[in-house]
Symmetry: C2
Subunit: 142 residues, 2 copies
């Protein structure tokens, strides 16, 4: 289901390719864990890719809207971003110490959510399900 580019009409979004967007995208490819907008901004500047913080926020948001990155909230409410290997719907097992992340499936969760919501007459569903803990390394280091 691709969006027609050559069609007329008032709402023909184009999404230009810019150096900044490329830099954010490339960095996300390289990173394993969830990172905040600020982290990403710092890292890009550190390696010499000049970019504004505003642009990092905007870019991450549009990537998230496009479903290209996953977003979740840390305990303190900060948004963290990660390019996931799977484009499919999935959940995460996250180390609350080092941020190490495993993408996981939750068929049991999917059916559970569906069934419960149905029982109560809810529609237009979405859900969150994330597991937090200490990874093997961090358990040891503790």
């Amino acid at each position: 289901m691709t969006r027609p580019q050559t069609q007329h009409g008032p709402a023909t979004r184009v999404m230009r390719a810019t150096r900044q967007r490329a830099a954010v995208s490339a960095l996300l490819d390289r990173l394993e864990d969830f990172r905040s907008a600020q982290d990403i901004h710092e890292e890009l500047r550190r390696v010499g890719d000049g970019i504004g913080l505003t642009t990092v926020y905007r870019t991450l948001q549009s990537l998230a809207d496009a479903g290209e990155v996953d977003v979740l909230r840390t305990g303190s409410g900060e948004a963290v971003y990660r390019r996931c290997a799977s484009a499919e719907h999935h959940h995460h097992l996250v180390c609350r110490r080092c941020g190490a992340t495993v993408e996981i499936e939750g068929p049991a969760v999917e059916t559970w959510a569906q069934r419960i919501a149905e029982q109560h007459g809810f529609s237009d569903l979405s859900h969150t399900a994330e597991i937090f803990g200490l990874c093997r390394e961090c358990s040891a280091t503790a």
Copy 2:
């Protein structure tokens, strides 16, 4: 498992009964949905219970720490609070339009989280699992 009050020792928290704490607690008893600290502050002032915003934040925090209220984060990262009927661990089905909330059990989720985390060697686990949607009324009104 009650906390000894008359024991010596350096960490004998007392938690005094104050007008402000009573007011917050009473309002929470009256409310059905998840509400933000700011909401609760406004409502209390509106009905004439003078109280500082700082105090509302502090009180909600301590109630949450004590497990007396549930906290969850809105999509925008704002913390919202609710006194739940069940003191046991449970999850929520929330109307993203009107905030109507149903407390739900998730035995399937519990075992899923446990099993997945074990498989990956994670310890010290916690998890979140909330379902969002439109309640029957809001579906109709849509």
